[in-house]
Assembly symmetry: C2
Homo-oligomer: 410 residues x 2
């Protein structure tokens, strides 16, 4: 490294832009600095050749999701996260990435961001790489400062989120103003998503937020941690797209958490998106209920993400409480089937349960029970005879369905 360069990295920079230009000048290549979430912090201005990925990054002010994802799959980001050495990355043509070199900006073990150098026209020498490493260590101070501001801001955001979900902030107007004050002005319906984990740590939480924010499938306004639960406040565009996009997000999120960190036991739930911000608490409560009910009825609710998809199970706990108080007897039909099953070593009650779960679709039910459709039809006939019920009558059918669920809960 030359003295000149050494000095140039040591001097005071007014801004990150000046700094990135200095690196670019030294290496004679386009340079980009990102934060730990791959959001663009600064990019060198005097760039002759730039690849598609860099253009997208600059335009979108963040690295495109598919690029991040690819870097994860290729092991690039994990490697960067684990060392402060520059990493040479060969070009990946199909997503428009030229040859580049990257290094993480870090304080001890915490990654604060990344410097990316695009190798345009030349290949970096060992000396260049050493200087790049030096530059990364110099960038640390700048990013630390930014990071502290960000953390402070986030604290404010989180406090507001807590006020909203605990019901402390009750007035739509007030909430809206406070959101504006901290730079969030959605003018859109807001909803709460929850993810619940078996274990939780500060480190894991950071990873989760990182993944959630980098999937870019959805607009996360505020996030926070509540014991083992991650709370996201999100904004929707149009109601219908919102549902689809959110489901997509949750799907991707879970997949990536599983692939990248090997965690597959994740419960998720999402409340309605409400225009009126008074109801964000309700959205949170709904998301909570989704999770707790999915934990109790994982089979029945495995395709449910939203509160409205809980269907009949929204009422289950109300009824269970009332049942206990009023001491209503178990439906005699169920009791009779139970007795019959015991006496004849049959499984009519389970059969009925499956039929009800499949809403009378005998083919599906037969598949699940590994028996012939006709067998199932025969059993159904017997069930109706024995239990003295009429499944053709929707009223009785629904009643039995509920009874079965309530019955199971004992």
């Amino acid at each position: 490294m030359t003295d000149k360069n050494h000095q140039s990295f040591n001097r005071q920079f007014d801004s990150l832009e000046e700094f990135v230009d200095a690196i670019s000048e030294r290496l004679q290549c386009p340079v980009t600095i990102e934060d730990s979430n791959h959001h663009l912090l600064a990019y060198s201005s005097h760039d002759d050749g730039t690849d598609a990925a860099r253009i997208s990054t600059i335009i979108g002010r963040r690295v495109p999701e598919k690029v991040i994802n690819r870097f994860w799959k290729e092991g690039v980001i994990p490697t960067l996260n684990q060392s402060d050495e520059p990493l040479v990355i060969p070009q990946i043509h199909d997503i428009g990435l030229g040859n580049r070199v990257a290094v993480s900006i870090r304080k001890n073990n915490e990654v604060l961001g990344y410097i990316w150098v695009l190798e345009v026209g030349r290949t970096l020498t060992k000396e260049d790489l050493a200087d790049l490493k030096l530059a990364a260590s110099k960038a640390k101070n700048q990013l630390l400062q930014l990071n502290m501001q960000k953390k402070k801001k986030e604290k404010n955001h989180q406090e507001l989120l807590w006020q909203m979900i605990t019901g402390d902030a009750r007035n739509h107007q007030v909430i809206s103003e406070q959101l504006s004050k901290i730079g969030i002005n959605p003018q859109k319906p807001l909803a709460v998503i929850l993810f619940s984990f078996d274990v939780m740590s500060d480190e894991l939480y950071k990873k989760l937020v990182y993944v959630a924010k980098t999937t870019q499938k959805i607009n996360i306004l505020i996030q926070t941690l509540d014991e083992n639960q991650v709370v996201f406040l999100i904004s929707s565009h149009i109601q219908n797209d919102f549902v689809k996009e959110t489901k997509d997000f949750i799907e991707t999120f879970k997949t990536q958490i599983r692939e990248r960190f090997g965690i597959s036991q994740i419960w998720s739930g999402c409340g309605y998106a409400y225009d009126n911000y008074e109801w964000i608490k309700r959205s949170y409560d709904e998301a909570t209920k989704v999770i707790s009910l999915k934990q109790s009825f994982d089979q029945e609710l495995k395709s449910a993400t939203f509160y409205h998809e809980l269907g009949i199970f929204r009422y289950i706990d109300i009824l269970q409480q009332a049942e206990q108080v009023e001491d209503i007897t178990i439906n005699p039909a169920i009791r009779k089937l139970e007795t019959y099953d015991l006496e004849h070593r049959t499984n009519l009650l389970e059969t009925l349960d499956v039929i009800l779960n499949k809403d009378g679709n005998m083919n599906e039910a037969a598949k699940e029970l590994h028996c012939h459709v006709n067998t199932l039809n025969y059993r159904l006939k017997r069930i109706q005879e024995i239990a003295n019920i009429q499944l053709k009558d929707p009223v009785q059918k629904l009643g039995l369905y509920l009874d079965m669920k309530l019955f199971r809960g004992r």
Copy 2:
């Protein structure tokens, strides 16, 4: 009338049997005496010729239901009830009735019973008829005495019934013993049937009990009146037959009340039949709930008679109460359809309701809505788009069904 005869009717008779033999002797025909419910009280012993109906009556200790029914249809019994004149009834061959003469035994306007004279070998003269009328007036005293015993017995019965349905008598053993004490020893499951009327009077109550007892479709152990409601304690044979027979009884009962007294607004309900007599109160409560729910959901529950046939509606009121307390919002799907209906002058909400009531049977639903099946399919598709729901998912479908019912209750 001869002095001899006159005297013979005036003398003291030790029993109704002696009395009926005296009439038979005088008229030279078989004679039968029934109480007001057509139960056999006495019959003449020295009978040469007897028709099928009389044999059945004597064997069964009461007049067969089809005979009673026929006499009502022919206007015989109404006529007898309205006058104290003997009535000559031509033979009705198809139910085995020969020629006969009947007269009501009455005290003022109250009918206490009937005397039947079978015209075997001879036809009664005017003089015979006058003597028969005299005999009827003499029988009054005997029947009045019987009637008073019966009423007293009934009072005891009713008191026990009240103890059971109010829960005063809690112990199975005790109830069973008390039933035995008053001559009822069913050793069978017992249930409560209720009939509720818009108006009620002592006279109507008597008529109702008369009809209920004479249909002979079911074994009524005790009956009583509770404001506008008639309460029957009934015993069952086998569970399955019980349901069928009871439904049959209720059907017949309502038909006859309508045909004979022109009353068609009748609510009915029946509780389970319980082995354990502690639960007779529960049977009563169930019957009460059947009636009140049928009054609220007459369309949905028009085929329901028994508590177990209430299906999902058993839970409706629990949920409605909880809804009020917790102030749960109306399902957004319903709200959206409502809005859409208003803006486009459509009936999607009603359409959904019918589809749900018909449990997804599009043909039936189309019939009810007077539209083409394809139209309905199209509407369903639109409904699912607009409301963002998925009726293929049974969980959502059931949830919506409940929401619609709860929603309607506002």
